[in-house]
Amino acid sequence: MIDKIVAGMAEAMAGVADGAVVLVGGFGAVGQPDALIEGLLEQGARDLTIVANNAGGGEGGLSRLMRHGRVRKLVCSFPRSNTGPTIFDELYRAGKIELEIVPQGTLAERMRAAGAGIPAFFTPTGYGTQLTEGKESREIAGRPCVLEHALFGDLALVEAWAADRWGNLTYRQSGRNFNPVMATAARLTVVQSQHVVALGALDPEAIVTPGIYVDRVVHVPYGDPQI
């Protein structure tokens, strides 16, 4: 019998090693798996590379992980918050965190490629800009392109709306964002889901992430994202 539902956060985070590359879903606060981030903090892994679209805002979520000195490097497209200065800003100014800026679509595609067995790809995005300096480039079909490599995670933290015990997932509105892509790109994919439903309750036509990508599911009736 396949049952990916785990009883608690300790079980969900078991085995995460120091130095792990962690893919964290979400676009701002929406779709960001805050309970799992909290679980990772409790679990204690250090020296992490976090891959996320943003750098956290306020005091919760990614900010807490950074505040506790667990993050060595951030890979993201937009490390800026609507809610004012962040813990990330503070660490960045003090030279205490590394930053790799990646164009948002390239970030998504690098993880899609990782999940799809494509080791690298050429894209026109970023050609001739500071962000692709030193990267291999080639003109393809008359268009200059740069070579981008697949981005794998050791761990993906995903927020879903509904999950079943096979790990099939659906998402909520724009909370989907990076979550389905990250779910495919990590060696261990852990999901927090607002709802856990019986096998068969999710419409097969509407399942966004088939369970094959998912390793563990924690039921976290978490409430609405705080914007």
């Binding site: 929406v30 164009p103 390239t106 026109p124 001739g128 892509v181 914007i227």
Partner: protein, 215 residues
């Protein structure tokens, strides 16, 4: 001679909105571009795309109707129009990169006469750089229009021969809307399509750092 009055940001957005035809799929960047949606009449069916996975995005909801899970690229609450859809980030940027959007409108620090755009960094080291989806949008949309004030607050020209700020993309801007007029980018450089009422070409030229050619 009549005194010309530069357009307010909302008037700039309204001017650009007039040029978006029915049926187009359009991505609006953060800032002035976001205002454009307010000036496209509802009966004109324009599909607004938001890079965080929305096609058919509608205006901001009244406070009592906010959907907490539904935000735009600027992380403001929005709505979904009837017929709208959700998708994940890789699909969203496949739409962008794959040339499926008719138009992207971006704000800018500078636009050059060769179509280069600089809109993501000013080169200062104090704050971390942040690019978001700008480079993908600039490289991928069928056409790119920029919308920005014609000069900086201290009077420096933003229509330039070559950008001095870090580039977002090379040779992609087709048209620029400013508070002084509308300028097409052609093989010959900036061509004036329209100037605001009372403004003459030499005056617009004096506030530009690239040649403005008469239509």
């Amino acid at each position: 001679m009549q005194e010309s009055k530069p357009l307010a940001r909302t008037a700039m957005a309204a001017r650009l909105a007039r040029d978006i035809p029915d049926g187009w799929a359009v991505n609006l960047g953060i800032g002035i571009p976001t205002l454009v949606a307010d000036y496209v009449p509802v009966e004109r069916e324009v599909l607004f795309h938001s890079e965080n996975g929305i096609l058919g995005m509608g205006p901001a909801p009244p406070p009592e109707a906010i959907e907490p899970w539904l935000i735009n690229a600027g992380k403001q609450h929005v709505t979904l129009r009837t017929g709208g859809s959700y998708f994940h980030h890789a699909d969203s940027f496949a739409m962008i990169r794959g040339g499926h959007l008719d138009l992207c409108v971006l704000g800018a620090f500078e636009v050059a006469e060769n179509g280069d755009i600089a809109n993501w960094a000013t080169g200062g080291n104090e704050t971390a750089p942040a690019v978001g989806g700008a480079m993908d949008l600039a490289a991928g949309a069928k056409q790119l229009w920029a919308i920005m004030e014609h000069t900086t607050k201290d009077g420096r020209a933003r229509l330039v021969r070559r950008c001095s700020y870090p580039l977002t993309a090379l040779g992609v801007v087709r048209r620029v809307y400013t508070n002084l007029g509308v300028f097409d980018i052609t093989e010959r450089g900036f061509v004036v399509r329209e100037l605001i009422e009372g403004l003459r070409l030499p005056e617009a030229q004096a506030r530009s750092a690239a040649t403005l050619l008469a239509d």
